[in-house]
């Protein structure tokens, strides 16, 4: 049994510290998955909702080893739901951005370009380029196969380069 699976088992048995440790380990992944889909200013609230939902439903998870994919699915669902309520997403992102330096505006433009890519690519690129996770970490934390992550990174980066040129 993996370290994560052991934490899941402990959390399912009512150990709040174990769930806190899962939060620490998966917060970046959930943050990235949500950030790829909804307005930046709404992300923190939705991340909290995702973990609250996971906490409430954790006992329904039969296979602790599936925790990563299960949590990522909750995050995608929550973000998709939230995104639909806040349509259009992009104007919200732009108008909510505080006036700032050229670098901040450039960051918003790049983030917008990433979000315009197909979902599988945008999510993986946000996890890699914003959250700073390696390909292997992305695979471990989302439940995707390393091969899928590698393809998503490769194709997504190719499309992103085309958009940024």
């Amino acid at each position: 049994m993996t370290d994560i699976a052991r934490l899941v088992r402990r959390a399912q048995a009512g150990d709040d510290d174990a769930f806190g440790e899962l939060y620490q380990r998966f917060a970046r992944m959930v943050h990235g998955v949500v950030l790829a889909r909804i307005a930046r200013t709404e992300v923190d609230d939705v991340v909290q909702d995702v973990f609250m939902a996971a906490f409430e439903r954790l006992r329904e998870l039969r296979e602790p080893a599936a925790f990563a994919g299960w949590l990522a699915a909750i995050a995608r669902n929550r973000a998709a739901d939230h995104g639909r309520r806040l349509v259009p997403v992009h104007p919200v992102v732009d108008t909510a951005a505080p006036p700032g330096t050229h670098e901040r505006l450039e960051a918003l433009a790049i983030l917008d370009a990433i979000r315009s890519l197909p979902e599988a690519y945008s999510e993986t690129l946000v996890l890699r380029l914003v959250e700073g996770m390696t390909g292997e970490e992305i695979a471990e934390r989302t439940g995707l196969t390393p091969g899928s992550v590698r393809v998503n990174l490769h194709r997504g980066m190719k499309l992103l380069r085309e958009k940024l040129t």
């Binding site: 909702d49 739901d81 983030l111």
Partner: protein, 328 residues
């Protein structure tokens, strides 16, 4: 691919510059404290998925109900409507009428039925749960491993491969599935479609599942696919020309399915268009694809990077074993 993009080794000035620029949006380290006692925001105009998740949470936090579910020897499908809760027995029908219903699918997921939907529970046991949707719309979120949740419709069998999706059956028995997360398999006889997140597929009685298409495709693209799928021989040449012309890299899944759904010179044209996005891997030849060589088709699918066909084939065999006994 740059090693740096995968494992941060080796360096790549352009990617490093993007990383530095985007770092301002990253999750704080350590993340902010988690407040598990707060209430989720409830807003007007909440979507179907929100209702579904809220209903799931409501079931999950209902301690007594949860405990009962945990101890029950056989799976229970609990139905929640505006008028209260009940249990759906095997063989029983559920008509949502003017209201909406949320069904807890044993312990593997939830299904929200929209008003006007009609479903029946066909079977429910460990590792195998099956329902029938004869009309209306359902939204499913399934967290069990793939190939445990099946929905029969008048024109196909929908197989959950670990995902969230919406399935609609119209008055004529035709269907539409839209996948939000994961994959859904549509299968009727020897015809099968794999529909990934962001894609949709229609199904028609007498034909089975149509070719999956990205939700970003144009209406004309979808109409052309419908012509290819359900009106073979009637104006398929211009329809195929439109599909090939408008296909982008994201449409590899669509083109791969078309390889076995068009014949003769049309198959060559699909071959060329798909090859322009994903070159056929070693061992995959034009002659082989013309002949419908399953191993070559599988090898090309594997080259799309969407998962290996060995899994699909294993599941597909299980689907065939699970085909409905009667088909309208």
């Amino acid at each position: 691919m740059s090693d740096y993009l995968w494992d941060k080794r080796g360096g790549d000035p352009e990617i490093e510059r993007i990383e530095r620029t985007l770092h301002v949006f990253a999750q704080a380290t350590p993340p902010p404290p988690l407040d598990l006692r707060r209430q989720p925001p409830v807003r007007a105009g909440v979507s179907r998925v929100a209702l579904l998740i809220a209903a799931t949470l409501a079931l999950a936090v209902g301690g007594a109900v949860f405990t009962l579910l945990e101890r029950r020897p056989t799976p229970v499908w609990q139905v929640t409507t505006a008028s209260g809760r009940s249990t759906l027995a095997i063989g029983a029908w559920l008509d949502t009428g003017a209201g909406e219903a949320t069904v807890a699918v044993a312990d593997i997921g939830t299904v929200t039925m929209e008003p006007g939907a009609r479903v029946r529970l066909l079977d429910s046991r460990a590792g195998h749960h099956r329902m029938e949707l004869t009309r209306g719309t359902m939204h499913a979120t399934i967290w069990a491993p793939p190939n445990q949740f099946f929905v029969e419709t008048p024109s196909t069998l929908a197989v959950d491969l670990g995902c969230a999706y919406t399935l609609t059956v119209d008055e004529d028995g035709g269907g539409l599935v839209t996948v939000l997360v994961g994959w859904v398999g549509f299968t009727t006889g020897d015809r099968e479609s794999f529909i990934p997140a962001g894609f949709a597929a229609v199904t028609r009685p007498g034909f089975g599942p149509g070719t999956p298409y990205s939700e970003r495709t144009s209406e004309a693209y979808r109409q052309a696919l419908a012509l290819l799928d359900f009106s073979p021989g009637a104006g398929t040449t211009p329809a195929l020309a439109l599909v090939l012309d408008q296909s982008e890299e994201r449409d590899e899944v669509t083109l791969w399915h078309l390889l076995t759904r068009v014949q003769g010179p049309d198959r060559d044209r699909v071959f060329d268009r798909l090859a322009s996005f994903v070159p056929p891997p070693t061992g995959v030849t034009r002659d082989g694809i013309r002949a419908g060589d399953r191993r070559m088709l599988d090898a090309w699918w594997d080259a799309l990077g969407l998962g290996t066909t060995s899994l699909w084939r294993t599941w597909s065999q299980q689907w065939k074993d699970n085909q409905p006994r009667t088909r309208r």
